[in-house]
Every structure is written in C-alpha cells, then in structure tokens.
Amino acid sequence: MTFTRVIAAAALCAAVSAPLAAHHSAAMFDDEKVVELNGTIKEMQWTNPHIWIQVVVDNNGQKTEWSIEGGSPNSLSRNGWRSTTFKFGDAVSVRVNPMKDGSAGGSFIGAKFKESGKTIGRWE
C-alpha cells in the first residue's frame, strides 16, 4: 500500500523536526508539519551542499516524484550514512517537513526500509 499521510500532531513535530545544516534559508519548509511518504527510491544524489533523495510515490496509479533534501554528505558520513544507504528500487517510508506551498519536496527527517525494517535519521 502506498500513500501519503500527514501527521499533524504538534508534539510529534517538535520531537522529530531537525534543522538541516543548510547553506540556504529553510523558509520553504513547514517545520510544523510532518508528511510520511511511502514509495520507492529512484535515486540518491550523494552530493554537496546537500544530498537529495528522489522518491516515487504511487497513489492509486498516479505517480509523483518527491525531492527530499538532506544534510551534506560530509556530515551525514560522520553519522553513519553511506553513498549507498538508499539504493534504486528500495521500498521505503520517509518522513519529511514538506514544502509550505504543497509542492512535492521536503526536508528529510527519517526513513524506514520496508524489507529490513531498519531505520535511519529520526524515526520514533
């Protein structure tokens, strides 16, 4: 089952929202809201100044590609991430602070791999 779910509980948002060590303003992201995406990995761009995780969400046949921004590969690698952490075709649940204007983009909070059950980032 693939769906997009909004978790609007403010307390949960406060617990899981984390600012990126970004090189830019984060004004485009809504850090009061958490969206959980269920989809498959199209690509992880392991690049500076930020990594990007491209996730394809299939909502009853309508596919949407989300662009999810993470920290720098430098800082993430020091926290256990690798360039192969997300691979093409991985089935994942990903939580993000979405873009305020409803566009298919967000700031990474955490993810859970469906096959292994492993999590990365903040996933409570």
């Binding site: 830019h24 004004a27 485009m28 500076n48 662009s67 921004e69 430098n74 020091r78 873009m99 566009s103």
Partner: protein
Amino acid sequence: MRTALFAAAACVIAIGVAAGQANKPAPTALPDWSGVWQMIGPTVFDRASVQPQNGRAGDPGVREFPPLTDEYEAIYRKNIERIKAGTFPDPISVCGVPHGFPRIMNVPDVYEFAVTPAATYVLAENGPGIARIYTDGRKHPPAEELWGTYTGASVGQWEGDTLVFETRGLKESRDNDVIIDRTGLVLSDAARVTTRLRKVNETTLEAVMVVEDAKALKAPWKVTKQYRKLPAGTWAWDYGCAENNRNPISGSGKTLTIGPNGKPLDKNVD
C-alpha cells in the same frame, strides 16, 4: 682585520634585528590544536542574548540583542521582517562567497585549526572557509592599503597558550551580501573583532570575540563560541558547494527548490 670582523658582525646583528622585526619569534612550544572540531550548539551567533531562548537562526521572529545603534537596529528589524516573509536569502546560497568574519567561527559541519609559527589557519569545512591569522610579527596594512573583504585581515600574537588576534578590513554588508548569522544581523565596514582563541581542556576550544563597530554598535559586543573535539580519526571532507546546488534565489529573494526536471518545484517563482 679586526675592523673587517667588526663590520661583518655588525652586519649580522643588523640583519638579525631587521629579521626579528619582520618575523617576531614564535613561542618555543605552540599548542596542539590538531584534530577535527565541531562548534557546540546551533548557528545563532550570540546564544547568550537570543530570543526566544534556543531559537534557531532563520526561524521567523528569532533575534539577538547586540548593542546596536538606531541605524543598525532598524536594518536588523527590516531583515527580521524579510525572514518572516521568506525573502531573506543566505548570501552563501550562491556557493561563491565566503562566510566572512566573524561568521566563519559560527558555521556547521567541522573545523580544523592549523597552528604554525608564522600563522594559524582556521579551516572550516562548510563553505569552505579559511581564516588566516598571521603571527609573524607583521602589523595590519595601513588604512589606505586595506579594502573591505569578507574575512578581513587578521594579525595576532601568542599570550601563553592563547592566540590573541584582531581582525580589520571587513566588508560592509551591501544588501545583506555578508551577514553574521541567519537571524539577519549585519555589521558595518568599521567593524573590528578581537578574538582570544585557546584550548580550555583536551576536548574544548574556545573563541572569545569582542566586536567593536563605531557605526553599528553603541558598545563592545562580547560573544563566546566553543568547539568540541571529535574522535581521533574523524575526517574533514571536501565541500563543493556548487556541485549540486538545487537552491537558487529568485528575484524577490526567495530560496527556491529545483525539482527532478531542472525547474523550480515552487508554485510561486518571482
């Protein structure tokens, strides 16, 4: 013969004195600041005065309280309003300019501090950024030879195990092209910063900065930042900001997000 020897000795002494003036002897034992360090806390420059407490730089309404003059308080308030409107871009978003000083002492990711007799180099992974602090006995260039740069000119000396240096020649913020942090703080080209940098224990470096600015500040502004040593063997990496920068700035100052088709995802691009 005696005259010749005397003349030669005098020349050696004279050369030595001249060299001494240009290259002040460094302390016999420089401190060991090796390793990789990370700033403690978030990137609000003056955490002692930030409101609300624990507010994050860039969040709407978050501000510090340096002793700003009326002119620079008005500039700060204007910038705070732009942050609320989402139209205050970080100048480093364009991946082509340094953070500048003192912001370089207030950045995420990691640091290295390279101490040599003639200079100490602050190497910030983020940016990347470099601050050069000369300790070879030189003076600051005379005012007519200085021009405003992001990181300015830093000259210092060792007082025991403390590196004391003054930074001058800082660039004036023009349309917020250099900032102190993402709360919207800026200084003028009259800013001078005196920094005392030392290791307070094996795992903590501390920078105590006193900012003076005849245009922007009514009184000296003291800010302390600390850096925690990361485990031995930690790597600092290349940070190629322009490698895949998917966050260009719009005409109004809005930070955009580029989607998979190379065009902004944002619904309103102005």
